[in-house]
Symmetry: none
Subunit: 213 residues, 2 copies
DNA sequence: TTCAATGTGAACGCTGTGTTACAGCTCCAT
DNA sequence: ATGGAGCTGTAACACAGCGTTCACATTGAA
């Protein structure tokens, strides 16, 4: 599920060194691994170095991608870039000489973000600010606008106490005139929607305010 | 709609040369351009060089992305890579020294994701941008021009919420002055034409906007 | 015990959205 | 020109969802 595979097993020394320096665990794979139909199912990413067989390896890339849909990072020489043009099967590419920092970054982008979007996380609660969706353990919960905004503020500002007045001005807006009890009600609804076992994530600090996390 | 913008206008010589060699047309923009709220609506890509103000420019990147959703390519130094970690607003990045071939490739990848291929698909709905036809399960449905454009934008930019203002500027054009309710009506017409069971593909996010997929 | 602060449930009223109708417009055939 | 047909934007109305508030219950501190 989280294996980063590298092909071919005997890839260039430059790539090997950069991989080593990037601080990631890898599994080097050969042709026999790629031929197994279920091969890619355990991989979160496949890195393919074009090396001296760019066209052959590109065909390979295309096939593996179409079979498995696994993200593919191609390590190429400058001369091979033209061949990558319009190739839909590669998720990203990098050009020799391979630099550890860049490589590490590209790997993490591909591995971490299956869906490339703003994501805030607390335990098993995710908040996607691009899609305006909240999920618990992957299961979406639907929040109303204000519930969402309040939760977002809490998740972005964890660990400290916020008074009702502060919350009103920061979440509802500076110009807002309303009773402070409004906050209470929204906190209550949030607690209810995230479920009983998570309700404690929002702590009440008596006669002060609320704290998340 | 197909302008590639570069910020800052006085970017490094190395980047300028690579841009020139990459054989693409550019428009160099400054702060005043980015401050205009509808600025990015005419761009298909924004290239930002972090230069000597990495953090400030990263904030800028984040703001522009959240306002407009335009793809952003960051040109960075190796030292700045760590700051890009987990930044959802950047679509891609490249590391100095900037190489023309690589740059050109990354630009084309980003531009072409937005100006989609001839055939776009979502579930059983196909959009053939070459023939300007939409089909459900192979059966053609006829959409008016605006319905078609709206659907095309949605399919090319799935999964993220778009406010009515963003849709107006991105689908109708940045120079457009019109009531936001226009969007509602067109969304409704689209929903009606794709059929009841598919109407839910366009989700209404109350007091935010719409999301497709 | 007593009082203040907070939890809880329900009701009201407003805002945003769905829906329909229609007027202006372009385009095309007559 | 002229008529009609289709497309688009806007206004008007209806309705549902949601935020706010209130009343009452419960908790916790003095």
């Amino acid at each position: 599920m989280s294996t980063v595979a590298v092909y071919p097993g005997d890839c260039s020394v430059g790539l090997q060194e950069s991989l080593a320096l990037s601080g990631q665990a890898f599994e080097f794979v050969g042709d026999q691994d790629l031929d197994k139909p279920e091969a890619a199912s355990g991989w979160s990413l496949l890195i393919v170095e074009l090396g001296d067989q760019p066209l052959r390896r590109l065909r390979l890339v295309r096939r593996v991608y179409e079979d498995s849909g696994v993200p593919i990072l191609v390590a190429a020489m400058t001369d091979h870039l033209a061949a990558l043009e319009g190739e839909p099967s590669l998720s990203d590419f990098t050009v020799a000489p391979f630099e550890p920092n860049e490589l590490r970054m590209r790997i993490r982008r591909l591995v971490s973000t299956q869906s490339e979007s703003d994501l805030m996380t607390f335990r098993d609660l995710d908040l996607n600010t691009a899609t305006y969706q909240a999920t618990i353990d992957g299961v979406p919960i639907d929040l109303t606008y204000m519930e969402y905004e309040l939760l977002r503020f809490f998740m972005a500002n964890q660990g400290r106490v916020w008074s009702r007045e502060q919350l009103l001005s920061k979440v509802w807006g500076y110009e807002y005139f309303g009773g402070a009890r409004t906050v209470d009600v929204h906190v209550r609804r949030l607690r209810a929607k995230v479920g009983e076992e998570r309700a404690g994530w929002i702590t009440t600090i008596r006669s002060v305010g609320y704290r998340f996390g």
